[in-house]
């Protein structure tokens, strides 16, 4: 599965535009990590726990988007976009969406 956030894939030709596919997930870290992040907020710096959380969520969102694309017979997703929103305290929602296409070598 080829995933790209540009529209024209070099050396490839799009034969079919299949439509929009999306993957999303809502995740939270356990309360202990929330507490640590709260403390870290005082001093600043990277919040390791949340970096990890968002990375995991993003991976899962992409995976789900790929599952959707495979289900409709695509071999590539182009023009992929991410959108993140804070849904509840300590929980974030990640959405990944793009256009599922079928590619051929030119």
């Amino acid at each position: 599965m080829l995933i790209s956030n540009i529209e024209v894939i070099p050396g490839k030709r799009i034969t079919d535009h299949l439509g929009l596919v999306q993957g999303s997930t809502v995740r939270a870290k356990h309360a202990g990590k929330d507490l640590m992040a709260g403390l870290k907020n005082i001093f600043g710096g990277e919040l390791q726990g949340y970096t990890e959380l968002l990375q995991e969520s993003r991976q899962e969102a992409v995976d789900r988007m790929i599952v959707q694309a495979q289900a409709i017979g695509a071999n590539a997703i182009i023009n992929v976009r991410f959108s993140t929103s804070a849904i509840a305290a300590g929980a974030s929602e990640i959405l990944a969406y793009g256009t599922a296409v079928r590619l051929n070598d030119r």
Binding site: H17, G19, L20, R27, H30, N79, S85, I87, A88, L95
Partner: protein
């Protein structure tokens, strides 16, 4: 005694939330699936450029938005789950429904214009707080894109 009443209210709200929330969700999903079939002819992509066959069509922006609220049971379920961490399944179906509903409303809007396709679709998600403190109160999902209408 007061704490007993409080517990009773909590349990009642949980049960009500569970029953009605579940019913509302399955009803909503049914309606989403049937309407998705109805609007299947309006193709949605998020490509920036129209495909060659649409090159001489008119374009106009279409939007669809929905505000959807969570039930008490799900707030508690998600609150508990966020103590241990992991996937908040309670909110996932909520957002899935909201996003598909927004897409459907955008398609409805496009159909009014007589469009055949929507390109450059984008999503915007925001939490509408005020009716809830820490938990998720309600979310708004906005879908917008450019509809391509045949020139007459």
């Amino acid at each position: 005694m007061e704490s007993l009443i409080q517990l009773g209210i909590f349990v009642t709200l949980m049960v009500l939330g569970f029953i009605f929330g579940r019913r509302a969700e399955s009803k909503h999903y049914k309606s989403i699936i049937s309407r998705e079939d109805r609007y299947r002819h309006i193709l949605i992509t998020n490509e920036k450029l129209p495909a060659p066959e649409f090159i001489s069509h008119d374009s106009g922006m279409v939007t669809g938005n929905v505000v959807i609220s969570v039930d008490y049971f799900k707030v508690v379920a998600a609150g508990l789950k966020s103590l241990v961490g992991g996937r908040l399944t309670a909110y996932e179906s909520l957002l899935d429904r909201a996003r598909r509903e927004a897409l459907l409303r955008m398609q409805e809007n496009a159909e009014e214009l007589g469009a055949l396709a929507i390109i450059n679709t984008k999503f915007e998600t925001s939490r509408i707080s005020g009716n809830a403190g820490k938990g998720l109160g309600s979310v708004e999902v906005l879908a917008y894109g450019t509809a391509l209408t045949p020139r007459c």
